[in-house]
Symmetry: C2
Subunit: 497 residues, 2 copies
């Protein structure tokens, strides 16, 4: 209807405006389709200084619907970020299913800023690389679409572009001191970039290399690339929706060793002895936590175990002597809707303790390979993959020498029944027992298999499982406290001369 003629802005390339208008409408359409899907889109824009990353991102934001897309540009880490595992700051910004996020630099900024000079920096490089590949693999395996674009400029083009911007009084302000400072290091940067790009170019998360000389061209190319990848991913996800998720990956049931059967459930403590030891280890725990707090070392404790195994009681005996300012108990219940639209580890990442703090998970990420596995909430590919994902996650928790201890509280079937019945009789414990608890009992053997495999696949010297004989509550509580103290001491010993 608006047939205005504008003589001032002739189209420089025939059909250019029409092409762009089509691209925008298709991007919006794809974005709308994405809205109903259960996967997020990660767009990473990296590249050479002055290649126009900021302009490109502004352009993408203008084309797409800002309500479903965020731009993430992280500057220097805050203290809340520095005091947690490196990647915590990325996890807290991850887009939800059905939405997109554009990361300027993203998790590539740090690794690109380095030069690999000696053996030590090479091993640091390898370590960072592994983290990045693991992260992208994990996200992609979970269905995420990862789009990575590199905006490139030759040394001459970079210089020319900076000069041009700098000489025009209208754009001079866009050239920062940092830009100018980096110019002499072009070759070293490109060498590192070449290495990083090659090492992180994978089928699941490939790089697109774009010439950054002309914003009109580069933004169109990136926009088209995003559209193609998104459309393809939407088509694939529509197919896989129809697939039968119940299929198992082979039938080879490598039964794990029965670690639980080896436990001596007759182990017990008499009350007098219990009280004495309780006081002793509670005092010790208090001192150790205060010490760790001073050293700024954090601790993550995981409590898993059968229903009614006494997790809550053991946690309370441990926290009893601790300063309420220094610990936090995170009871894991059903995920909220903000949690449901993220990777399953996201809701555990968000509660990671700051330096010097203790976080106690009452049930944990192991739900993935226990209840979600047994009840079929996760399919076999998902829970099988989870063992490695959990190991990577736990390695990150322990970065900088922080402490991780995992407890499995074990009781036998008869003891569980006895406790269920006892709970039903105690007024203030009635709320703790439901129909579901009895239903879960019926799948005891399946759970036992799952627990044994979990122990086998996720037990290591660095992140050990402490198996607690818990038929006797006194014995169990003291064993938890003792193990806690022992592990804390071991961690703190590293910081003594």
């Amino acid at each position: 209807m608006t047939n205005k003629i504008n003589l001032e802005e002739p189209v420089s390339e025939p059909h250019q405006e029409i092409k762009l208008s089509l691209l925008r409408s298709r991007l919006l359409q794809a974005q709308q389709q994405l809205g109903d899907k259960q996967f997020p889109v990660f767009i990473i824009i990296s590249g050479v200084d002055a290649a126009g990353k900021g302009d490109l991102v502004n352009r993408l934001n203008e084309w797409m619907d800002a309500r479903y897309m965020r731009t993430i540009a992280l500057g220097e880490a805050s203290d809340e970020e520095r005091e947690r595992p490196d990647f915590w700051r990325f996890w807290r910004t991850f887009p939800a299913d059905g939405t997109s996020a554009i990361f300027i630099g993203g998790w590539y900024s740090e690794i690109l800023a380095q030069t690999v000079a000696d053996e030590r920096s090479r091993s640091h490089y390898e370590w960072q690389l592994t983290r990045i590949c693991q992260l992208e693999e994990m996200l992609a395996n979970d269905g995420a679409l990862i789009i990575k674009c590199w905006l490139h400029l030759s040394r001459e083009a970079q210089k020319e572009k900076l000069d041009k911007l700098f000489q025009n009084p209208d754009t001079k302000w866009r050239v920062t001191a940092r830009d100018l400072m980096h110019v002499p290091y072009y070759d070293a940067f490109i060498m590192q970039a070449q290495r990083v790009l090659e090492d992180t170019h994978s089928e699941l998360a490939p790089w697109l290399i774009v010439d950054g000389q002309n914003l009109e061209t580069s933004s169109y190319i990136v926009g088209e690339h995003i559209l193609n990848r998104l459309q393809q991913h939407l088509a694939e996800s529509a197919l896989s929706d129809k697939e039968d998720h119940s299929k198992t990956i082979g039938n080879k049931k490598n039964k794990s060793k029965n670690h639980l059967a080896k436990l001596d459930l007759s182990l017990a403590l008499e009350k007098k002895n219990y009280k004495r030891q309780l006081a002793k280890y509670q005092e010790k725990a208090n001192i150790l936590v205060r010490h760790a707090n001073e050293l700024k070392k954090s601790s993550v404790l995981v409590f898993e175990g059968w229903d009614a195994a006494g997790k809550g009681g053991a946690i309370r005996r441990l926290t009893h002597s601790l300063d309420a300012r220094k610990y936090r108990v995170i009871p894991i219940a059903a995920p909220t809707d903000e949690e449901k639209v993220h990777h399953y580890l996201w809701r555990f990442w968000r509660h990671m303790p700051r330096a010097g703090q203790v976080t106690i998970y009452d049930r944990s990420w192991y739900g993935r390979v226990l209840v979600e596995r047994v009840e079929g909430f996760a399919d076999e590919a998902e829970w099988r993959r989870a063992f490695q994902e959990i190991n990577c996650f736990e390695q990150q928790i322990q970065e900088d020498g922080n402490c991780l201890i995992k407890f499995w509280l074990h009781i036998d079937r008869d003891e569980q029944l006895r406790r269920f019945q006892e709970r039903e009789q105690k007024l203030y414990k009635q709320h703790k027992i439901t129909e579901e608890d009895y239903r879960n009992r019926e799948r005891w053997d399946d759970y036992e298999d799952a627990v044994n495999e979990m122990i086998e696949k996720t037990h290591s010297k660095q992140a050990p499982w402490v198996l607690v004989e818990a038929n006797d509550k006194f014995y169990a509580r003291i064993k938890v406290l003792k193990s806690f103290c022992k592990n804390m001491e071991k961690m703190l010993d590293k910081y003594h001369d």
Copy 2:
């Protein structure tokens, strides 16, 4: 079933154990009832050093269901906290509807630690006091239950308790250097506490003063107090559920002045002039934002306006020249379920910018007095109360000289219709127009009344509304950019000699 006889632990008071068991079961019952209710419980435990706040909190945690109760004990503020309004750190810990949080100290720690020596500290005291009272009133008005307990010790009792703890080798570790240091200041502290307690003792949030000498007694008293207040609140909320929320508070329709009618919607800019000014003010905006960033001053921008008034376009023209690392656009859509179970301001608090950053809200907390008012999602008492709540909130945003600018983009009915029709014809804008947009059009007059009242009640010199004549997009965008620059300059001028 377990009829054990224990000769070692005679009951010191008849029925004591039974009483405690009853209290616990009733607390759990009340907590379960709370689970279905749409209000949160704030429990504040404050008091004299060595009065056993930590022990009491541990006790409450043992009695109640930890899954629905968190302990919040804030230490020193992190940089992420320091760079935001003072109360941001409390807002981020607020309990959701149906759950409780125990705050050790809470928002009383800071005000209690002061002494009111001179005129300057007195006015600081008054300011803090106002913040606290406003917060508690707002939460209580929204249905929250606020329970405040003060654990008291006389000077002698405090000394005696510390000595006793200190002399027993088993408990010596519990006496900190800080405790001992505070002893000589007992009188000054009590004087300040007396003042604070009196000034913050209200019907909606009364204090309970408890003798902290004996933990068994004090914890029982606090537990019983929590139970009584909770039961009473549950009963009241059951009554008010049945009330007719559609009742209006009087029929006095004090029609506001028609601020919108005064705007000259014929104001326009020709393209050439627009392009020139756009470049000029975008450059200026970039420089100002960089300057504010260096000074660590943050800015909050609010964009409100009719559907299709051009909010998105105006925002994009503003952000176009900004460094993507320095701003964030928050599009306000339907609240998530984590947001739904909090006070309506909570979801805006969570996005407050850090020092030096710009946050742009595309729609905002004004939804409360616009769409929620007109469509009846908020009842009259709620939206009427909101004017003052919003003013308090905005005062806090501007603490430490940060910038707040609010834009209303105004178009007339005909222009809106024209834009709706235009959108339907442009491929990539089709998604922007829905049935609902046409439905909202029909209530234009009601919205106009709401907008006029909103402007009247929330416009101030410190937090001005910028009314933007937006029938001509060019004119509107330039006015937004110009006003932004003018306000930023005014703010920055304060920091020049």
